[in-house]
């Protein structure tokens, strides 16, 4: 009762990275609140997954194992979660801000009349004083998220409703194993008690999941281009540089909207959050929504013809110049110096 619960999402038979990231955050929140960390896993053939989950410091795993729960479908997953939450009364419930989490979360929050904050970038524990009713709330979940297109950061709280629910995008938080030998227990739910047959009205007819070819999140070097790169053709240079440095190509939303590169390469608040060793920003002005997704890169180089581009403020190196002039030189000098 009153624990921290993380919904672990299955992505093509594997637990999604974002779920491990949330378990990591969940463990630290549970430590601060002095409560248990619990995990939910809904799907089929779940036996064995507990070995992957316990090391994140999970005390209880609730498993709903039923072939009708795979692939994910809104109503059955909602039903299991809502009914379980009514019994377990978690104080905090976290899920990934994925197509699944953003489908499931609001449905569950509505059913429980509880507040949900989408796409949090930070979660903290803190108190809140409501001066109007002269009441102090202890140990609330501060749900911190950008709002208004990323131009402001809002701290949201749910003083009175439980659970306090939040979704977080993949890559925003770090995934760290708490203890490889951590021991918890598995509770197998009797699915028929949690889901009514009427919940299966929406049928999945077909699914095509492509293996992701682009992995910018785990790339140590990212060469990212903005609208200033000018064309899909000009992006080729960025690919050359990235390949040579063993990295990947990313892009700002403006470059994606202009159709220069694939959608999967978008870095920023509505794209992927990255923290590579080296980030080379080419022709990116640096809107807040982009900066939020790459701010934690170790070294940032900005190549921009505008010496006052906002991104230059957070760059370690600013090269004032045209991307098409600078990149060939970088390639040339890299080759000369690594022979």
């Amino acid at each position: 009762m009153n624990n921290v619960i993380v919904y672990c999402e299955l992505d093509e038979g594997k637990i999604a990275d974002v779920s491990f990231e949330l378990l990591t955050k969940g463990r630290s929140l549970a430590n601060q609140l002095n409560c248990k960390l619990e995990a939910l896993l809904f799907g089929s053939n779940l036996k064995g997954f507990e070995k992957e989950i316990f090391p994140y410091g999970v005390d209880t795993i609730y498993m709903a194992d039923d072939k009708r729960l795979t692939p994910y479908s809104t109503l059955p997953h909602t039903s299991v979660m809502v009914n379980l939450f009514k019994e377990e009364k978690p104080q905090i419930a976290l899920m990934g801000a994925t197509t699944i989490g953003r489908d499931l979360g609001p449905r569950v929050s509505s059913a429980l009349k509880s507040g949900l904050t989408a796409d949090c970038t930070e979660l903290e524990i803190g108190d809140h004083e409501d001066k109007k009713i002269n009441k102090i709330y202890k140990n609330l979940l501060y749900q911190i998220r950008p709002a208004f297109g990323g131009n402001i950061i809002a701290t949201i709280i749910n003083p009175d409703c439980r659970p306090q629910m939040a979704t977080v995008r993949e890559g925003v938080m770090k995934k760290i194993i708490a203890d490889p030998n951590y021991k918890g227990k598995v509770v197998n739910l009797d699915v028929s008690k949690y889901v009514d047959d009427t919940a299966f009205v929406v049928k999945v007819i077909e699914r095509h999941i492509e293996k992701s070819k682009i992995d910018i999140k785990n790339s140590p070097v990212i060469v990212a281009g903005g609208f200033g790169v000018g064309s899909a053709d000009n992006f080729k240079q960025l690919f050359n540089l990235a390949t040579m440095l063993g990295g990947e190509v990313g892009a700002s939303r403006a470059a994606i909207d202009a159709g220069y590169v694939e959608h999967e390469r978008q870095i920023g608040q509505t794209g992927v959050t990255v923290r590579p060793k080296l980030y080379i920003a080419c022709g990116i002005s640096g809107q807040i929504q982009h900066l939020a997704g790459m701010l934690e890169s170790s070294i940032i180089i900005s190549i921009n013809s505008d010496p006052n581009a906002p991104i230059n403020k957070i760059a370690n190196y600013v090269i004032v110049g045209k991307v098409e002039n600078v990149i060939p030189k970088m390639i040339r000098y890299y080759k000369e110096n690594t022979k």
């Binding site: 489908d103 509505s110 208004f148 007819i205 957070i314 600013v318």
Partner: protein
């Protein structure tokens, strides 16, 4: 032939995609008044899907429902220009300060009043909040299934709809009966443009209260033309529990709002001369950042 009753949920939003320097006040807060108010882009995608249902089943009707200030009637007019049949503006001070849950409650109450709906379509999310919560929450309140991240109607018969959904790394085709709520993704087709004839016909459409504000307009624009009246519903026009509305009905509270301030780094300025770049690449290699 089946005649679908379609409700499109739409929101008027500040255009946060183009927040320029003048949009930030001296104290660093956002100056909403200088941002243009627009039809939320994904809600326009949703309208397009509604129009496609109507293309296939011509007797169908499309009602756009929006909640917001009186000014939000602008997007209802925009909807008329593009083919919507009816528009309802849900407006009342009692709705002020609503979070997503209170918003979806109010919308669900209004939809119950519309009755006999088969399909509710809305954008996946609005650009001022990006939460993607109101669609699923409305569906839950109405007790109907939801299909989120919709990209295309694959097939439609009088009693079933198949929708292609866009997932992170692929697609899924799902089938539902009616009624159903569909949220439309940004990868779905754009809305068809305004129709010139409809533009002429509806350009004076407005709410009754707006028209009464100026008696002159009221007379000149033909008050007998009922199609020019945008329905305006207040809290008294819908059956609802007042405790679940507005700020008081919102479980989430904004504790504080901070401006985004990035810690400036001490950056080294280089020019695009060969020497500068040579030195830079050497440094990156010797410090093992690359190579």
């Amino acid at each position: 032939m089946k005649e679908f009753r379609i409700v499109v949920l739409a929101k008027q939003v500040p255009d946060t995609r183009n927040v320029g320097k003048d949009a930030m006040k001296a104290d660093g807060t956002v100056n909403r008044s200088v941002l243009p108010a627009i039809f939320n882009p994904e809600d326009l995608h949703a309208l397009e899907q509604a129009l496609r249902i109507k293309d296939k089943f011509p007797g169908s009707t499309i009602t756009i429902l929006t909640m917001g200030p009186v000014r939000a009637a602008e997007i209802l007019r925009e909807g008329f220009y593009r083919g919507a049949d009816d528009g309802i503006l849900l407006t009342d001070r009692a709705f002020a300060g609503s979070d997503t849950l209170a918003t979806s409650y109010a919308l669900a109450c209004a939809i119950r009043k519309i009755k006999n709906y088969d399909v509710i379509v809305c954008g996946r999310q609005a650009i001022d909040g990006d939460t993607a919560q109101v669609g699923p929450q409305v569906a839950e309140k109405l007790g109907i299934p939801q299909i989120t991240y919709a990209e295309e109607i694959v097939s439609l018969t009088k009693d079933k709809i198949q929708i292609k959904r866009r997932l992170e790394r692929g697609i899924e085709i799902v089938e539902s009966t009616f009624p159903v709520l569909i949220t439309v993704n940004n990868s779905a087709p754009h809305c068809r443009p305004r129709n010139a004839k409809r533009l002429m016909k509806y350009k004076h459409a407005s709410t009754l209260s707006k028209r009464q504000e100026s008696e002159e307009d009221y007379l000149s624009t033909g008050s007998n033309n009922t199609h020019l009246t945008i329905k305006e519903w207040s809290v008294n026009d819908i059956e609802c529990d007042h405790e679940q509305l507005g700020l008081g009905g919102s479980p989430t509270k904004v504790k504080k709002v901070d401006n985004v301030v990035f810690q400036s780094k001490e950056s080294r300025r280089l020019d695009d001369f060969d020497d500068d770049i040579h030195v830079l690449m050497k440094e990156l290699i010797t410090s093992h950042i690359v190579g």
